[in-house]
Amino acid sequence: MDNAISVAGLHKSFGHVKALDGLSLTVQSGEVLGFLGPNGSGKSTTIRVLLGLLHADAGEVRLLGGDPWRDIAELHRRLAYVPGDVNLWPNLSGGEVIDLLGRLRGGLDERRRAELLDRFDLDPTKKGRQYSKGNRQKVAIVAALASDVDLLILDEPTSGLDPLMEATFQTAIREERDRGRTVLLSSHILAEVEALCDRVCIIRDGRDVETGTLGDLRHLTRTSILAELAEPPTGFADSATIHDVIHGLAVEGTRIRFDVDTSALDDVLTRLTAFGVRSLTSQPPTLEELFLRHYDKSPEDQSPEPEGMR
C-alpha cells in the first residue's frame, strides 16, 4: 500500500526553540492514523509543515506523492483541514464559511453538507463569535467532511465538542475511512484514538517515540497484577529474568502486587503459579498508561527507556 504521508528526519526551529527534532511519520493510504502527543509536543507544527504553511529546516516530506511546500495548490485540491483553533470571520455566517471553504477546495457534496449540518445539530445562520468554541469547531468539521477529498488532516478536531457530538464525530470518521479516505487525526483524547485509529504515532519534544498498531503498542506496555497466593512468594523476583521485567513489587504476606512488561507476561505467570495462585486480578494496559509512561517523567529518567522499549 502506498503512503499518503511520509515524513522522515523533519526539523523545524523557531529562533532558539526546537519545535521538531528529527520527526518521522508515515500515514498509509486508507488508514486512520492517530497522532498523539501532549500540548506543545509539535503536532500542530508538523501539520502546518504538511500544509505548506511552514517551511521545514531539514527533512523529507511527501504528501499525496508531492512536495507540500512546492506543489501546494495541486495537493490542496485533494485534502481538507480542520484546525484545532477555529476562528471565523465576524461578519460571515457559519453557512457562508462552509460554502466558501468548500468551493475553495473545489466543491461540496450538497447532500452530505445538509446531512452533516443535521447530524451535528449546527445552526448555519449564526455569525463569527456568536458560535461557541464547540460550534466553531463543528463549522470547520462540516466544511471538511462535506468536501470530496482523499486526505483529511484533523488537528485536535473535537476540542470543545460535547460527548454526544464526540460520538457523532467518531461515526462520521468511520464512514470516511469506509469510503477509503485517509485520515491524520491529531489528538490527546485517548479514547477517541483507541476508538478510531488503525495505527498510532506518539510524539514527544518534536520526535516520534512510538509508532505501531494499538495491538503492537499494548504489547509494549505493562499489565498490573494483583494475586492472592497459597504461600509467601519468597525468592519470586530473585532471578534476573523476572527481576528485570517486573516493576513496583509489593508483597504483604501472601498478597503480591506488581506491574509486568506485557511481553514477559507468560514467563512471570508461570513463575507465579509455583506459589499456588488462589486469586488473580490483572489490569490490561490502556493507551492512557502508555501515554503517561512517555510523558509522566522528567527527561532525565526517560533516557534509558528507549533500550528497554525496543
Binding site: L53, I72, A73, H76, Y81, L92, R103, L104, K127, A140
Partner: protein, 536 residues
C-alpha cells in the same frame, strides 16, 4: 444585581498595569512625538519670521483668511511664537490625541472581547467596569501626559506660562472627550473595527464641523459644536479663555456616564444592537479569495470614500475664497509654498489639500495591508491556505484593495474637490479634471508607503505595525516639516515631497517614474518574502 453589592471596579489597577505593559512602546511614542511638536515649531518661529513687521502682519493676513482657517482654525494672535504655534498645531494636536484615545480605548476593550481574551479576564476577580475603566484611565492618562510634555517643552523654550499651560490642557481635554466617545462607541459597536470606525468618523465629523464653522463668516458658532473647535477656542497665548474648558469636561462626563450605563446592561462580546442571523448559504459569488477580501475590506473602503468625498466637497467649495480675501499677499503665498503649494493662492490651497489627501489616504492603504496580518495572527488565513488558494492569490486579493482602493479614494476625493470648486468658478468639467489630476498625482507616493507596509509584512511580519509609523512619519514631515524649518534632507525622505505641486506646477515624468519603480521593487520584494516565509 450583583454589581450593587460587589465593587464593579475590582481589578482595575491590575488591568491598567496590563494595558501599560502591552502599550509600552505605542503610548510613549504618541506622548513624545505629539508632546514635542509645539515646542519645536515655536523654536523655528524666530527663524521663519525674523522681523516684527512680518509678525505683526501675520494675524491680519493668513490668520484672518477663512480658507486657511479650514485647516488650522482661526488665528487669534500670530505675532508671538506661542500664538503662532497654538494656531498652527493646536487643532492637529487635538485631532491626533483624539485618534490616539479612540484606538487605545478600543484596543483594551472591544478588541479584547473580539479575541476572546476578555472572557478569560472577566472570569477572574475583576469587576464589571474594570476593563472599561482601565482603558479610559490609560487613554485619558496618555492624553494628559501629551499635554504635560507640550507644556513643559514650551516652558523650556521660554514661552509664557499661561499660554503653555492652556495649550497643553486644550490637547489633553480633546483627548479626554474622545476617550469618552470611544468608550461609548465600544458599547454600541458589534466589533472592534466598527468601534474604531465610529470613533474615527466622529473625529472626522468634528474636524469638518470646525472647518465649516471657521471658514464661513456668518457661521462661526458652528465651530462651537466641535470638540476640536473648543481646543482652539481656549485661545492659548492669545488671551486664554479658561471657561471654555468647562465644555470638554462636561461632555466627557456626560458621554462617559452613558457608556457606563450601556455597559451595565450589555453582554460581553456583543454590542447593544442585537446580532442578526446571517444567510444559511453563501451567495454564489462568494467563491474566491477576492470575494472574501471584498467582504472584509468593503466597509473600510466605502467609509473612506464617503469621508474623502465629503471633506473634498467642503474644501473645494471654499477654495475660491482664498483669492477674494487676500489678493496676492506675499505672506500667505509664502506659507502655502512651505506647505507644498505653488503659483497662485487658489492653486496653492488646492495643491495643499491634494497633497494632504495623498498622505492621509496612505493610512487607508496601510490599514488594508495590515488586514492581511490580522487575518494571519487570528489564524483565519490557515484554513484558506489549506485549500487550493495560493499565497500570492490571497495576498493579491487584499492588495487589490490596498492599492486600487487608495487610488479610487484619491480620485473620488479629487473629483469632489473639483466639482464644488468648479461650481464656484463656473467650470465644472475643468475643475474636476484638474483636481483629479492633482490627487491622482499623489498615487505613486501613496503606493510607495503602502508597498513599504507589504515589505514589512513579508520580511518582518511581527513588525508589520511599523507601517503605521512610516505613514505617520510621511504625514508629519509633510504637514509640520516645513513649518518647523526641518532640513531638506529630512523633507526629502517623504515620497510626497517629490510630487510636483498640482494644480499649477510643472509636471515632469521623472518623479512619478522613480516613485513607481521604487514602489514596484519594494512591493515585489515583499511579496517574494511573503511567499517564502512561515505563516503564523
Amino acid at each position: 444585581m450583583s454589581d450593587r453589592r460587589a465593587n464593579p471596579l475590582v481589578g482595575t489597577r491590575s488591568l491598567i498595569r496590563l494595558a501599560l505593559r502591552r502599550d509600552r512602546v505605542t503610548v510613549p511614542v504618541w506622548i513624545v512625538i505629539l508632546g514635542l511638536i509645539p515646542s519645536s515649531a515655536a523654536g523655528a518661529y524666530d527663524t521663519l519670521y525674523p522681523t516684527m513687521a512680518e509678525r505683526a502682519d501675520l494675524t491680519g493676513s493668513i490668520g484672518a483668511n477663512p480658507s486657511v482657517a479650514v485647516l488650522y482654525g482661526p488665528g487669534f494672535d500670530l505675532s508671538t511664537a506661542g500664538g503662532f504655534t497654538a494656531w498652527r498645531f493646536g487643532g492637529f494636536l487635538a485631532l491626533l490625541t483624539g485618534l490616539m484615545a479612540v484606538f487605545t480605548v478600543t484596543r483594551h476593550t472591544r478588541a479584547e472581547e473580539d479575541s476572546g481574551r476578555a472572557e478569560l479576564v472577566a472570569s477572574t476577580a475583576v469587576g464589571r467596569f474594570a476593563s472599561l475603566t482601565a482603558a479610559i484611565a490609560v487613554a485619558a492618562g496618555a492624553s494628559v501626559a501629551i499635554g504635560l510634555v507640550e507644556t513643559v517643552a514650551l516652558l523650556a523654550t521660554d514661552q509664557p506660562v499661561t499660554g503653555s499651560v492652556a495649550l497643553g490642557l486644550s490637547t489633553a481635554a480633546a483627548g479626554i472627550v474622545f476617550t469618552a466617545i470611544a468608550a461609548l462607541a465600544c458599547q454600541l459597536a458589534e466589533y472592534s473595527r466598527t468601534a474604531n470606525g465610529i470613533g474615527s468618523a466622529v473625529l472626522g465629523a468634528a474636524f469638518l464641523i470646525r472647518a465649516v464653522g471657521d471658514s464661513s463668516t456668518g457661521g462661526r458658532w458652528i465651530s462651537w459644536l466641535s470638540p476640536l473647535g473648543w481646543a482652539q477656542q481656549t485661545r492659548p497665548f492669545a488671551g486664554e479663555r479658561w471657561w471654555v474648558f468647562v465644555l470638554p469636561v462636561v461632555t466627557a462626563l456626560a458621554v462617559g456616564a452613558v457608556a457606563y450605563g450601556v455597559l451595565r446592561h450589555r453582554d460581553l462580546g456583543i454590542g447593544v444592537l442585537p446580532p442578526r442571523p446571517g444567510p444559511a448559504r453563501a451567495a454564489a459569488r462568494l467563491a474566491s479569495p477576492f470575494a472574501l477580501a471584498w467582504r472584509l475590506q468593503r466597509g473600510a473602503l466605502i467609509g473612506w470614500c464617503v469621508g474623502t468625498v465629503v471633506s473634498g466637497a467642503v474644501f473645494g467649495s471654499i477654495a475660491n475664497g482664498v483669492g477674494d480675501l487676500l489678493g496676492d499677499s506675499e505672506q500667505s503665498r509664502d506659507m502655502f509654498e512651505r506647505l507644498g503649494g505653488s503659483g497662485n493662492l487658489i492653486d496653492a490651497f488646492l495643491g495643499t489639500i491634494a497633497g494632504t489627501f495623498g498622505m492621509v489616504v496612505s493610512l487607508y492603504g496601510v490599514q488594508a495591508v495590515l488586514r492581511m496580518r490580522s487575518e494571519e495572527t487570528t489564524l483565519r488565513v490557515e484554513p484558506l491556505l489549506a485549500t487550493r488558494v495560493r499565497r500570492r492569490q490571497w495576498a493579491a486579493s487584499h492588495l487589490l484593495f490596498a492599492f486600487g482602493g487608495a487610488a479610487l479614494i484619491l480620485i473620488a476625493g479629487g473629483a469632489a474637490i473639483g466639482l464644488t470648486h468648479g461650481l464656484r468658478t463656473a467650470d465644472v468639467g475643468g475643475g474636476i479634471a484638474e483636481m483629479i489630476g492633482a490627487t491622482a498625482a499623489q498615487i505613486p507616493a501613496t503606493w510607495l508607503i503602502v508597498a513599504v507596509g507589504v515589505a514589512l509584512f513579508g520580511f518582518v511580519p511581527r513588525w508589520s505595525l511599523v507601517a503605521w509609523a512610516v505613514a505617520a512619519f510621511a504625514l508629519l514631515i509633510g504637514m509640520f516639516g516645513p513649518v518647523v524649518d526641518a532640513p531638506q534632507a529630512v523633507l526629502d525622505l517623504s515620497p510626497f515631497g517629490h510630487i510636483p505641486k498640482l494644480p499649477g506646477g510643472d509636471v515632469t515624468a521623472a518623479p512619478f517614474a522613480v516613485l513607481a519603480a521604487l514602489g514596484a521593487v519594494v512591493l515585489g520584494a515583499g511579496l517574494v518574502a511573503f511567499r517564502r516565509r512561515d505563516i503564523g
